[in-house]
């Protein structure tokens, strides 16, 4: 316990007396944490935008005129049992014709033709949304199959717009998975680069103390007694850098929230504060781990004697 108390005290004193070296280390850890926070917010915007695009994609199943609601509801329930399906919504034939009239309210000839027919020429529809864009093909295949759940569905289905939309769906699917991969690679690259830069900066600051580490060992200090204060310093770097990073992002997200919400589709300021605890935990954990591991690894090199 006394040993731990001495190690912590020495860490704080070394940090305080380190002056510009301590400041440089905090600055570099802050830059790394800034990159990590930027990536968190970038991922939030990316996933928000991708989800928005995904939500706009759906497939509509058009039923033959006069098919009973009961049969359609039964198919709807079968679809809902599929793992790929996120939502299925039913629109009756009457609602469809009402929507059609609203949509073509200014198109006199179309409305006149509809009136001429006398009866409702439109059938009911089911609007299907899957969890992933790539799963629409599975739904199309399901509807065509002889699967017990879809039994008899081919008799009541007029057509679905999947094949008309296939090209768009496939392209969107490629764009989304491409964006996700690019986002992941960019994240990986930035995080790895920042960690390497931080590690090397901390290693350089400890290199200055290389000779003193040797002296401490010759005086009879245990490895932990030598390494400990450097690790405490690493923790201090992490904590101060976390506070600095979170403070810096306050005005930045506020600016984005005020000026870029329409463009991004997401209010970054609200996102930052509604997820503040999670972001704080991630940044603090990253900062401390980065500081401690960098320090411990750097000191280890000079501890062998």
């Amino acid at each position: 316990m006394t040993e731990l108390k001495r190690i912590i005290k020495a860490g704080f004193i070394n940090f305080k007396r380190g002056g510009s070296v301590s400041f440089a280390s905090v600055l570099v850890v802050t830059i790394t944490l800034f990159v990590i926070t930027t990536i968190i917010l970038f991922q939030a915007v990316l996933y928000f935008s991708l989800n928005l695009i995904k939500e706009k994609v759906d497939v509509t199943i058009y039923f033959n005129v006069g098919v009973s609601e009961e049969k359609i509801t039964s198919l709807k329930e079968s679809l809902l049992k599929l793992a790929e399906v996120a939502d299925v919504s039913y629109t009756s034939a009457e609602d469809n014709v009402k929507k059609f009239r609203e949509l073509h309210a200014n198109d006199y000839s179309t409305i006149a033709a509809l009136d001429e027919i006398g009866s409702n020429p439109l059938g009911a529809t089911l609007n299907v949304k899957t969890k992933e864009i790539s799963q629409y093909e599975d739904i199309a295949n399901f509807l065509k199959s002889d699967n017990a759940l879809a039994l008899g569905s081919s008799d009541i289905i007029n057509h679905s717009n999947y094949h008309n939309n296939k090209l768009v769906i496939d392209r969107l699917n490629n764009i989304i998975s491409g964006a996700q991969k690019l986002g992941f690679l960019l994240t990986l690259y930035l995080i790895v680069s920042s960690i390497i830069i931080t590690f090397n900066t901390i290693r350089l600051t400890i290199f200055i103390s290389k000779e003193e580490i040797g002296v401490m060992r010759l005086v009879g200090a245990s490895k932990m007694r030598v390494r400990g204060p450097f690790m405490v310093e690493g923790i201090i770097y992490g904590i101060i850098a976390t506070i600095a990073t979170l403070v810096i992002f306050w005005p930045i997200t506020a600016w984005f929230g005020r000026n870029m919400t329409e463009f991004l589709g997401l209010n970054l300021y609200n996102y930052y504060f509604s997820n503040f605890l999670q972001i704080f935990a991630i940044i603090l954990f990253s900062g401390i781990i980065l500081g401690v591991i960098s320090s411990a690894l750097a000191v280890r090199k000079y501890l062998n004697k």
Binding site: G18, R217, L218, K305
Partner: protein, 222 residues
């Protein structure tokens, strides 16, 4: 107390120690003399296990120092005090903290540290420098501080490697007197130096080295 048994140390293209066999008994004051590169520093480093021999063994009492595990080596080093030509003080610690660090390393309590540190600084006439950093002290004061750090845990052995190399004659004399006093109190002292005047003022056993070999070993050497 210390036994060198046919110890050789070969660096890439230089022989630092060449088949050295030597015994130092407890309580002795041994001066090791020789020109630069004679092997004095390598010899002292072997005792501290700060360097390992290419051949041969070094014993501290019955312990082969180069066979020790890291933990045991740390314990052994607590039984020695070391003084270097370039002082090797901890630059970001005050005089008080430099000595307190050696005591903490030896597991002393805060109370012991608080009572012993001012006392030992008084012994080396540094009471007025208690909270000064090494950068704020003269060469002689730094070396006295290094000696205070070396003796604070009452070691059985003091190794002083060229402790007067950077000092003027007055400070050199003071340091030698302190080392003699420490020896008078029963601590074994090994002093490596190339300063003839220092050896003459000590007037005790002198081992002369040249090209890594012991060429002379005299009891009351000059």
């Amino acid at each position: 107390m210390i036994y060198f048994n046919n110890v050789s140390k070969v660096y890439k293209d230089a022989v630092a120690l060449n088949d050295v066999t030597l015994t130092i008994t407890a309580g002795e004051f041994v001066s090791i003399v020789g020109s630069s590169g004679a092997g004095k520093t390598t010899l002292t480093k072997m005792i501290m296990a700060d360097d390992s021999p290419s051949q041969g063994t070094v014993f501290f009492e019955s312990i082969n120092v180069h066979k020790l595990k890291s933990k045991d080596l740390t314990k052994l080093r607590r039984r020695m005090g070391v003084v270097f030509q370039d002082f090797k003080l901890l630059s970001n610690k005050t005089a008080y903290e430099n000595i307190a660090f050696a005591m903490e390393a030896a597991g002393k309590t805060d109370e012991e540290i608080a009572s012993d540190v001012p006392h030992v600084l008084e012994l080396v006439d540094l009471s007025h420098r208690l909270f000064h950093f090494p950068d704020q002290m003269s060469g002689g004061e730094k070396q006295r501080l290094a000696i205070a750090r070396a003796i604070i845990n009452q070691p059985e052995l003091i190794i002083a490697d060229e402790p007067t190399g950077n000092l003027d004659p007055i400070n050199t004399h003071e340091i030698v007197q302190i080392l003699k006093k420490i020896n008078d109190l029963g601590t074994t002292v090994i002093l490596a130096t190339h300063n003839r005047g220092v050896i003459e003022s000590v007037g005790k056993r002198v081992i002369t080295m040249d090209n890594g070999k012991i060429i002379r070993d005299t009891k009351n050497g000059k």
